[in-house]
């Protein structure tokens, strides 16, 4: 699972075909086509209201798509509920931190790991008797440097730490593709640099799709960028291409 395969030959992890969503008269996402390959690091950028988060919600099944298709490993998952997509290997984080605030870091991770296991329905055996579950949680927490703070309630962590735990929860289901909705949202510059480092040390075989406004983080972490505007895909390319694209400059600096 961890071998980073190069694009051309392999099949995409995630493919969007003509994906659209309208809320009443508002076309939030229009005809978006996109392919994400194993190990890809891709950012989706665009001005506020460009439809980035809506696109994520379509991909993860929070909203039903108006038209178009979402393919995960070549399977059409367009109408699937979120939890089945997760089972197939998709994980996401939220723009607004969405953790279990009154539970400890360890309990947060345990919930995340149990999510895809049958034992989540077991009600006649204590959770604490599942050694393998705890072992995996400890391993995961050690790999991201939170082993010493596992008994801290999440609400007592700093904002930057909570953003990282947000990603750790996404990783708990062993995803093949991780969708990150503004991981650096609301972070101070030092904290976002830490976040970028944190993202770079993740498994290279993991495909990452990232929404982010902090361009330092974007250019540091990803190698491909997709630009959305008014729900449409307007530009796509490597980080260098996008950096020098006149169209993108116009969107961000000009009248748009």
């Amino acid at each position: 699972m961890t071998q980073p395969i190069e694009q051309s030959g392999s099949s995409p992890v995630l493919e969007l075909k003509g994906l659209s969503k309208s809320f009443g008269g508002l076309d939030a996402v229009q005809d978006v086509n996109l392919k994400v390959f194993p190990g890809d690091r891709r950012a989706i950028i665009g001005p506020n209201g460009a439809g980035k988060t809506t696109l994520f919600n379509l991909v993860t099944g929070v909203y039903p798509a108006t038209s178009g298709q979402v393919l995960l490993f070549g399977r059409d998952i367009t109408g699937w509920p979120s939890h089945r997509r997760t089972a197939l290997g998709m994980a996401r984080t939220f723009q607004v931190t969405s953790l279990f605030p009154k539970l400890t870091v360890l309990d947060n991770v345990l919930l995340a790991i149990s999510g895809l296991r049958k034992m989540k329905f077991v009600m006649w055996r204590l959770l604490s008797s599942y050694r393998d579950l705890y072992d995996k949680a400890h391993l995961l927490l050690e790999s991201v440097g939170y082993a010493d703070r596992k008994h801290v309630e999440v609400r007592n962590l700093s904002h930057g730490e909570q953003r990282q735990i947000e990603i750790v929860l996404g990783l708990a289901s062993d995803p093949k593709i991780l969708l990150l909705d503004e991981p650096a949202a609301g972070l101070a510059s030092g904290e976002s640099r830490e976040m970028a480092e944190f993202l770079k040390q993740l498994d290279p075989g993991l495909a990452i799709l990232l929404i982010e406004h902090d361009m330092d983080v974007v250019f540091d972490v990803v190698d491909h960028i997709t630009v959305l505007q008014f729900g449409k895909l307007v530009e796509e390319g490597t980080t260098a291409q996008i950096r020098h694209s006149p169209k993108v400059r116009e969107i961000y600096l000009g009248t748009g």
Partner: protein, 327 residues
């Protein structure tokens, strides 16, 4: 909390032991009240699974109590069933009918959240009350059903103390089962749903199903409480399934401390004894109870079980402001 998990278990064990040992020395009237409290405690704890652990404020818990109670009464009077060893079959049937009713109601209720959930469970509870009140040929309408006698199988449940021990047994079993439930992976998933349902869905949980299962389980324990309630009073009337009973159950949980399980039991005991005592002292005792509820919700959101944590926080603040922020 001041107590560790082990300490809490010991405390509960000692209290149950005391309840068992002291019973023969208590007056018949006190025994009756404690029996009432224990049965209502089962109902309140089942509701706490929904309200405290899953975050579902159900206002229809009396419906399951009523279903269990009416089933017991109808079987006893019409078919002369459940008054011997078959009592144990009625216990099982009572649990099943409570669970089945919840399984039906859950189909309507679980899709809603917050206040809508409250209103739907309220409406469904009223349906059961309407049935009990109007279906004269089956339920005896307003008069209810008189149960000829308590079951006897080797032991005479007609004796107050014996019946009390039976109820205590079911209370301890319910407490133990629900305790394991909340400490199980499934129980933890309910807490996750309470804290952040959307995140749970993204993590791979079918949250609807988890809530539905919790709802059905709570219904089953409600049905059990109903069977015990029917034999305690010897009469089952629409009074059992009125809205006030559901509200009482909800308030017991809130008063004792939601999300603590034993809080429901403490709440039940406080309400039963306070109501009984107050009603002999002042005619307007309901206002006193109402005041207690309001004050609890305003000043003790964690209920009576939340008091130790509050004291500790207060002490920390006294020791030095901002100290608890340090890691």
């Amino acid at each position: 909390m001041f107590l560790t998990d082990r300490g809490k278990l010991w405390t509960v064990f000692v209290i149950v032991l005391a309840l068992a040992i002291l019973a023969p020395f208590a007056s018949a009237y006190v025994i009756l009240l404690v029996t009432q409290a224990l049965i209502l405690a089962i109902l309140a704890m089942s509701l706490d699974i929904l309200l405290g652990f899953t975050g579902l404020p159900s206002l229809g818990q009396a419906a399951y109590l009523g279903m269990g109670a009416y089933l017991t009464a109808i079987l006893a009077t019409r078919y002369d069933f459940g008054l011997g060893w078959s009592f144990w079959v009625v216990i099982v049937l009572g649990i099943l009918i409570g669970a089945a009713t919840a399984a039906l109601f859950g189909l309507f209720a679980i899709r809603a959240a917050g206040v809508s959930f409250l209103m739907i469970t309220l409406a469904l509870g009223m349906c059961v009350w309407g049935l009990a009140y109007r279906w004269n040929s089956m339920t005896g309408g307003d008069n209810g059903i008189n149960i000829p006698a308590r079951p006897k199988f080797g032991i005479q449940l007609a004796d107050g103390v014996t019946y009390y021990y039976l109820v205590l047994f079911f209370f301890v079993m319910s407490l133990a089962m629900l305790y394991v439930l909340i400490k199980s992976p499934f129980g933890r998933s309910l807490v996750g749903i309470r804290e952040r349902e959307l995140r749970m869905r993204i993590l791979g949980y079918n949250t609807w199903l988890h809530k539905y299962i919790a709802f059905v389980i709570a219904g089953g324990f409600g049905g059990l409480a109903g069977v015990l309630w029917a034999h305690l009073n010897g009469i089952v009337s629409p009074q059992v399934v009125v809205l006030a009973t559901s509200v009482d159950a909800l308030l017991m949980v809130v008063l004792g401390g939601p999300g603590t399980l034993v809080g429901g039991a403490i709440g039940a005991a406080v309400v039963v004894f306070l109501r009984d005592y107050l009603s002999t002292v002042v005619p307007w005792w309901q206002y006193v109870l109402g005041g207690v509820y309001v004050l609890t919700i305003l000043y003790l959101p964690g209920g009576l079980m939340g008091i130790p944590a509050r004291i500790r926080r207060w002490r920390e603040e006294q020791a030095g402001p901002g100290q608890e922020k340090k890691r």
